[in-house]
Amino acid sequence: MEIKGRKVAVVGMGGVFPTCANLEEFSEKLFSNKSLIREWDKALEQDKKIRSKVSGFVTEKEMNIEPVYSTLLENYPEVFIDLLNRIPDSNLSTADIGSIWAMLASLDAVKMAGWSNNETQSEGTGVVVGSGGAGHEILRHAWHNFFELDKKSRSVGSHTVDRAMVYRDAANVSCLIKNRGVCESIGSACATGLGNIGYAYRLIKFGLQDRVVAGGVEGTSLETFVGFDAMQVLSRGFSPEESSRPFDKDRNGFVCSFGAGIVCLEEYEMAKARGANILAVIDNYHNNSDGDGDMFYPSFNGQQRLWKGLLGETGTKPDVVKAHGTSTPAGDAIELLSIVDCLGSKDYHISAPKSQFGHMLGAAGAVEFITAILMLQKQKVLPCLNANHLNLEQENFQKTDKWQGPTSPLADFRDILPQQSFEKEINYITCLNYGFGGTNSAILISKDNS
């Protein structure tokens, strides 16, 4: 149960972002309305086997990481080397590329938080970090060598489990920073990043932890990309920077991207007492399920209940809604209409950061949470890039008898869908993320006004 009066502050953040060396460059590019999406050479190599060819990807080289390939197996990255010596070799030996990004992002976030070693390594500090996909790159080559090439199990080495297990990112971060509190991963598909932050918020709010390193990761993986490409849900037919176009009437799928976002949360009074720089306060987190029995199709009713659970009777109206906004035909329309149904169509703006870097899957909610913190800091709204033309006609589902939501076409909401970044007084931001399985997550953050 919540402990009354106990608040949660965001005190640190770090991440791995496409085409960016660090958080500063990420921020600069986003508020300059730039796209981080490129043609992906690994997808292009597959020629006609893959439909989509664009991604917000991050290479090992860009992160100053070098793979060492096994002499025993074909194409198996036995271990990675950190060319900048940020992570000890003992930690690298148990990590896939996503776990390495989680560790790098955690080091940056903890540094920004300013926690002492005693604080970081205490029983009051938890790690809650998750990923959307498995350790595909490790598993694919290991199992191919065993099952197809008839190699012995020992030839794959002793790190297939720790480098590919479900909570590998959290485990690797925990072993690196040596915390003594909880170490877990929450998995909720594309809501994973926000789900982990929300769970971490509850751990502190409920009095179970004082500090938590939380977030989401999605290591660059062609296997992940291929899975979504096979579903025919990825964007195609546009230039890279125009491929992710949430709410635009010509949108035809999302851009499969990769990255990592990690934040440090701390009990508010403890953070205040040590003079921490409080980046934001988390006011509430709510998550639920659609209850429609549908793995994929978004639910207007589920999202209505999500908003009700988040805001309740507080009367709070966010200045900015950081939308999930994936650039898929049905998802964006349902989301926009559910936002409008709850908040009306005036006095707030919708930001869709996926328009600039694509859909980072398990990392999306965490990286986009970081973009919300940046919006609070800069007092600037990030755009819905490429939302150039909105549908002047009703969506097909709006024409059915079953539809209970707003009947206006999306074009009626032009004023709340900015195409460029702009300055504005921002006190409250809501972040939304949804995932396969009908899972919905929402968080409300605000500026620290004390």
Binding site: V68, L72, V79, S155
Partner: protein, 86 residues
């Protein structure tokens, strides 16, 4: 194959295990203990054994790997014994 030749080959393998302090590899003898002297994580021992199979063109029995000691001489003995078995 001479024992010293095998030890040199093992050192080449150990150089690829990044969790081992490379400085300590300058003075490896038959009595060197992988765990106690080199600080090799126990999870790496099977990787060393698998790489030794490849380098010395042998295939160890599972029972022999289970019984393998943690000193350099133990694996040198096993390599020679396995080679003799053909």
């Amino acid at each position: 194959m001479e024992r010293q030749e095998i030890i040199e080959g093992l050192v080449e393998i150990l150089k690829t295990i990044r969790t081992i302090d490379q400085e300590k590899l300058k003075s490896v003898t038959e009595e060197t203990d992988f765990i106690a002297d080199l600080g090799t994580p126990s999870t790496e021992l099977i990787n060393i054994a698998a790489k030794a199979e490849q380098k010395f063109d042998v295939e160890f029995d599972d029972d022999d790997i289970d019984d393998l000691g943690s000193k350099v001489k133990d694996i040198v003995d096993l390599i020679i014994r396995t080679k003799e078995k053909g």
